[in-house]
C-alpha cells in the first residue's frame, strides 16, 4: 500500500483517437465492488447506451470516467488524456443524474459562467437557441435552484451543451422530463453525434435505441454486453 493515494497515470496503449478508453477500470467502495476491471473503448461519433439493473455500476462507471471518482484499479482516458486532467476536462461534458446548480445564480448567469469557464467562443447566440429549444427563454433570469425537477433537468442539459466537448457522459437524463422534453432530448443527442462528438448515456429509454450506435450492458459491476442496441437486448439487460 502506498503512502500517498495518488496513482501514476498509465499512458501505455492509450489511443489518442478514442474519446473514451478505460483499462481495467475498477472501484471498490469497501463494502462491495462498484465496478470491476472494465475495459471499454468509445470512438468519435458514437452514441452508446449504458444499461443495466439498479446497482449494476452505471453511475460509478460514469463518475470514474469523468474523473469525479477515484478508481481503485485501472485508469480512464478522455480523448487520450487521463480522466480528471485539465485536457480531459476540456474534452468532456459530464451531467450527473441529479442536476447540480448554484443557489444564487440565475439560469442566464449559470450559462454565462459555464460557457466562459470552458472558454467557449460565440456562446451567446447558441445560449439563446438552447433556451428557446428547451422552452426556458422566459425563465432565464429566474433561479434554477427553485425550478421543478424537470426544469432543473433541462437546465442541466443546457449547461452540458453550452460548452465544447468531444464526449458527453450523461446519467439518466430522461428522468423528470415530460414527453416532448424526452423527444427533444433524443433529437439533441442525435445532433450532438452528427456534429462529431460522442455520447455515453446511462438510460433505459427505448426511444433512444434507433439513434444509438451501440449498447453497453453492466451487471454487478462487470461488462455483461457490448454490441448493437436493440429493444429486446435492453429489456433483457435491465430485467436481469
Amino acid at each position: 500500500m502506498s503512502f500517498l493515494d495518488i496513482k501514476p497515470p498509465r499512458n501505455d496503449d492509450v489511443d489518442q483517437k478514442l474519446v473514451l478508453q478505460t483499462f481495467e477500470l475498477g472501484k471498490d467502495y469497501g463494502d462491495g465492488m462498484g465496478v470491476s476491471a472494465l475495459d471499454l473503448k468509445i470512438k468519435p461519433k458514437e452514441l452508446v447506451m449504458l444499461v443495466g439493473p439498479n446497482g449494476a455500476g452505471k453511475s460509478t462507471f460514469l463518475g470514474l470516467s469523468a474523473g469525479m471518482l477515484e478508481p481503485t484499479t485501472g485508469a480512464a482516458y478522455i480523448a487520450g488524456a487521463a480522466a480528471g486532467s485539465v485536457e480531459a476536462r476540456a474534452a468532456l461534458s459530464y451531467l450527473p443524474d441529479n442536476p447540480v446548480l448554484y443557489d444564487d445564480l440565475s439560469l442566464a448567469e449559470h450559462i454565462e459562467y459555464v460557457a466562459r469557464l470552458h472558454a467557449t467562443v460565440d456562446w451567446k447566440d447558441y445560449a439563446e437557441d438552447l433556451l428557446e429549444m428547451f422552452g426556458l427563454a422566459d425563465r432565464a433570469d429566474d433561479l434554477p435552484s427553485r425550478f421543478s425537477r424537470g426544469l432543473k433537468q433541462k437546465t442541466g442539459l443546457i449547461l452540458g451543451l453550452i460548452r465544447p466537448f468531444r464526449l458527453m457522459l450523461i446519467d439518466e437524463p430522461f428522468v423528470g422530463l415530460d414527453t416532448p422534453g424526452q423527444e427533444m432530448l433524443v433529437e439533441v443527442l442525435s445532433d450532438v453525434v452528427a456534429q462529431g462528438a460522442s455520447v455515453l448515456c446511462s438510460t433505459h429509454q427505448l426511444d433512444l435505441v434507433p439513434s444509438a450506435s451501440r449498447c453497453v450492458g453492466l451487471r454487478d459491476g462487470e461488462l455483461a454486453y457490448d454490441g448493437p442496441a436493440t429493444a429486446e437486448k435492453i429489456r433483457e439487460l435491465v430485467g436481469g
Binding site: 500517498l4 447540480v100 459562467y113
Partner: protein, 525 residues
C-alpha cells in the same frame, strides 16, 4: 434575457465574475434587519459566555512566583489542546477536509479546464481567515479571563491569547489542507495525529518543552514570562497553512463531492438543532461505519424476556462499534477526568467541560436506543410499552458509563492525589454514570423538533425551547458532578460526607428524567 456580454474570455476571469455575481445576489437576499439580528444574537451569547466564565473563575490573583510556575506548566497543557486540534485536522484532511465546497463548485468549477489550485485557493484562504478570526476571539476571551488571576496586564494577555489561538486555528486547518492536498491516506494521517498528541503528552509527563506545539502555546503567556521558542512555534504555524494552500489543487473531487452533500445536510440539521441528525451526518462525514464482524459474536439465546432481549441487542450494537468510536469514548472519559482535575485545582468552570465530555461519551452508549427512536413505527410495533422499552435500554448504557467513569477517575489521578480520588469516587460514580446514560437517552428520545407545534409559541419562546432541548440533557450530567465541588481542596481533609450528602439531591433531577423517559411515546411520522 440578460446574459451579460463577456469582454474577458479567460476562465479565471469568469471565475472572478461568478464570485462577484454570487456575492451580489446573496447580499441582495439579506435584509439589513436580519443581519443586525444575527449580530445581536451572537453578541448577546458572547456577553453571557464571558460573564459566566468570569464569574466561574476564582477571583483571587496568584502571586508573581505562582504565575511564573503557571507559565512553566500551562504551555504543555495548552500545547496538548492545540495537538488535539491538529490531530482532528489531520484526520479530517485524510477524508478531504477541511474545505467544504458547495456541490456546484465541485461539479462545474473543478470539472472545468481550469487550474484547480486557482479555483480552490480562494475558499482555502477564506477558511483560514475564518479560523484565525474565531481562534483570535476565543484566545482573547481566554486571555481576558486568565488575567483576572495572573498579575499581568489584561490587554497584553488577551492579545497574546488571541495571537496564539489564531495561529493554532491556522495550524490545524493548514495541516488538514496539506494532508488533503497530498491525498494522504487515513492511516498515515492517523499515525501522524497520534504522534503529535503523544509528543505533547510527553511534554506534560516529563515537564519538558520539546514539542513545537508547546513552543507555540508558550506564546500565550508571554506577558508573564518570555520564551524565545514561541517564535519558532509561530513560524511553524504560519508556514504550514502556506504550504497547505499551495498544495490544495490536488484535492480529491470524490471527497469534495461527498463532503459537499453531507455538510449541506449537516448545516440544515444544525439550524433545526436536531442533535441526532447532526450526529448521524457527522458519522457519515467521518466514514464511521459499524464493523461488519463484531468484536465478539453473541450466539442466539432462548430467553423471551423483553428486558434481556433489549440488553442483548444493546451489547450487539456496542460490539460492532468501530475502533475509532471506542477510542473516542475513552478519550472523552479521560478528558473529563483531566477537566475534573483542573476543577479540583481551582478552576471550577471546567466542571462544565467534564460534564459535556461525559455526555458526549454517553451519547455513543445510547446509540442502540437512538436507532429505535429513528424509526418510531418500528418501535411502536414492539409488544411493549414505549416508555418501558426506552427505560430497558438504560441498563446496558449505565454499564458502559460505569466503565467509562472508572477511566475518568483514572485520568483524574494525573492532577489529583490518588487518595483523594479513591475517597470521592464511590460517592458519585453511580449517580454520574446514571445521569450520563439517562441524559444521553433523553436527548434522542425527544425526537426531531416539532417545528409546526413550536411555531405556535412565537419566535422568542420557540428559540428558548429549542435551546432547552439541547442544553438540558448535558446539564443533568453537570448537576451529577456538582457535589464534587464540596470536597474541598485540602488533600488531607477531604469532606466526603458533604459530597455524599449533596449527591442525594442529585436523585431529584435523575428521577424526573427517568419519569420523562418512562412516559415518552413515539412520534408518528
Amino acid at each position: 434575457m440578460s446574459i451579460a456580454a463577456a469582454e474577458l474570455e479567460s476562465p479565471l476571469d469568469a471565475l472572478q465574475d461568478l464570485r462577484r455575481n454570487r456575492r451580489r445576489n446573496r447580499l441582495a437576499d439579506v435584509h439589513w434587519i436580519d443581519a443586525l439580528y444575527r449580530v445581536y444574537i451572537v453578541g448577546f451569547l458572547g456577553v453571557i459566555a464571558v460573564a459566566l466564565g468570569a464569574d466561574a473563575l476564582p477571583g483571587d490573583p496568584v502571586s508573581a512566583a505562582e504565575a511564573v510556575d503557571f507559565a512553566h506548566d500551562a504551555p504543555a497543557w495548552l500545547g496538548l489542546a492545540i495537538a488535539v486540534a491538529v490531530g482532528i485536522g489531520l484526520r479530517s484532511g485524510s477524508r478531504g477536509g477541511p474545505l467544504v465546497l458547495e456541490a456546484p463548485v465541485v461539479v462545474h468549477e473543478l470539472n472545468a479546464p481550469v487550474d484547480r489550485a486557482a479555483v480552490l485557493r480562494a475558499p482555502a484562504v477564506k477558511q483560514l481567515r475564518f479560523l484565525a478570526f474565531a481562534g483570535a476571539v476565543v484566545g482573547a476571551i481566554a486571555g481576558e479571563l486568565a488575567s483576572q488571576r495572573l498579575p499581568v496586564n489584561a490587554f497584553a494577555l488577551a492579545g497574546a491569547g488571541a495571537a496564539v489561538f489564531a495561529l493554532a486555528g491556522l495550524l490545524a486547518s493548514g495541516a488538514a489542507m496539506i494532508v488533503s492536498g497530498r491525498r494522504v491516506r487515513w492511516w498515515p494521517a492517523n499515525l501522524l495525529a497520534l504522534a503529535v498528541l503523544a509528543w505533547s503528552g510527553l511534554d506534560i509527563l516529563l515537564g519538558t518543552t520539546t514539542s513545537p506545539l508547546t513552543w507555540l502555546a508558550s506564546g500565550a503567556l508571554w506577558p508573564v514570562t518570555f520564551t524565545p521558542l514561541a517564535i519558532a512555534g509561530a513560524v511553524l504555524a504560519v508556514v504550514i497553512p502556506v504550504l497547505g494552500v499551495l498544495g490544495i489543487g490536488k484535492l480529491s473531487t470524490e471527497h469534495a463531492l461527498r463532503r459537499a452533500s453531507l455538510v449541506a445536510q449537516l448545516r440544515f440539521a444544525v439550524t433545526l438543532q436536531d442533535v441526532r441528525t447532526v450526529v448521524l451526518l457527522r458519522r457519515q462525514l467521518s466514514q464511521e461505519k459499524p464493523r461488519t464482524t463484531p468484536w465478539v459474536r453473541i450466539g442466539w439465546g432462548s430467553s423471551t424476556n423483553a428486558v434481556l432481549a433489549v440488553f442483548k441487542r444493546d451489547w450487539q450494537s456496542y460490539l460492532r462499534f468501530p475502533l475509532v468510536r471506542l477510542v473516542r469514548m475513552v478519550v472523552l472519559a479521560a478528558g473529563a477526568g483531566i477537566a475534573l482535575g483542573f476543577t479540583w485545582r481551582g478552576t471550577p468552570a471546567l466542571i462544565l467541560v467534564a460534564g459535556l465530555a461525559l455526555f458526549v461519551a454517553a451519547y455513543d452508549a445510547a446509540e442502540p436506543v437512538a436507532q429505535e427512536v429513528d424509526h418510531p413505527t418500528r418501535r411502536e410495533s414492539y409488544p411493549e410499552d414505549p416508555g418501558r422499552f426506552l427505560v430497558n435500554h438504560l441498563i446496558a448504557a449505565v454499564m458502559v458509563m460505569l466503565v467509562l467513569c472508572v477511566i475518568t477517575a483514572g485520568a483524574a489521578t494525573i492532577l489529583i492525589p490518588v487518595g483523594v480520588v479513591v475517597q470521592l469516587f464511590p460517592s458519585v460514580i453511580v449517580t454520574v454514570a446514571g445521569a450520563a446514560a439517562l441524559a444521553a437517552i433523553i436527548s434522542p428520545s425527544q425526537g426531531a423538533p416539532d417545528s409546526a407545534a413550536l411555531v405556535g409559541l412565537g419566535p422568542d419562546v420557540m428559540g428558548w425551547v429549542l435551546i432547552a432541548r439541547v442544553v438540558l440533557p448535558p446539564t443533568l450530567v453537570v448537576v451529577a458532578l456538582l457535589p464534587l465541588l464540596g470536597a474541598g481542596s485540602d488533600p488531607d481533609a477531604i469532606d466526603t460526607a458533604r459530597v455524599a450528602n449533596s449527591t442525594i439531591w442529585v436523585f431529584i433531577p435523575l428521577v424526573l428524567g427517568f419519569i420523562y423517559l418512562r412516559t415518552r411515546k413515539p412520534k408518528h411520522l
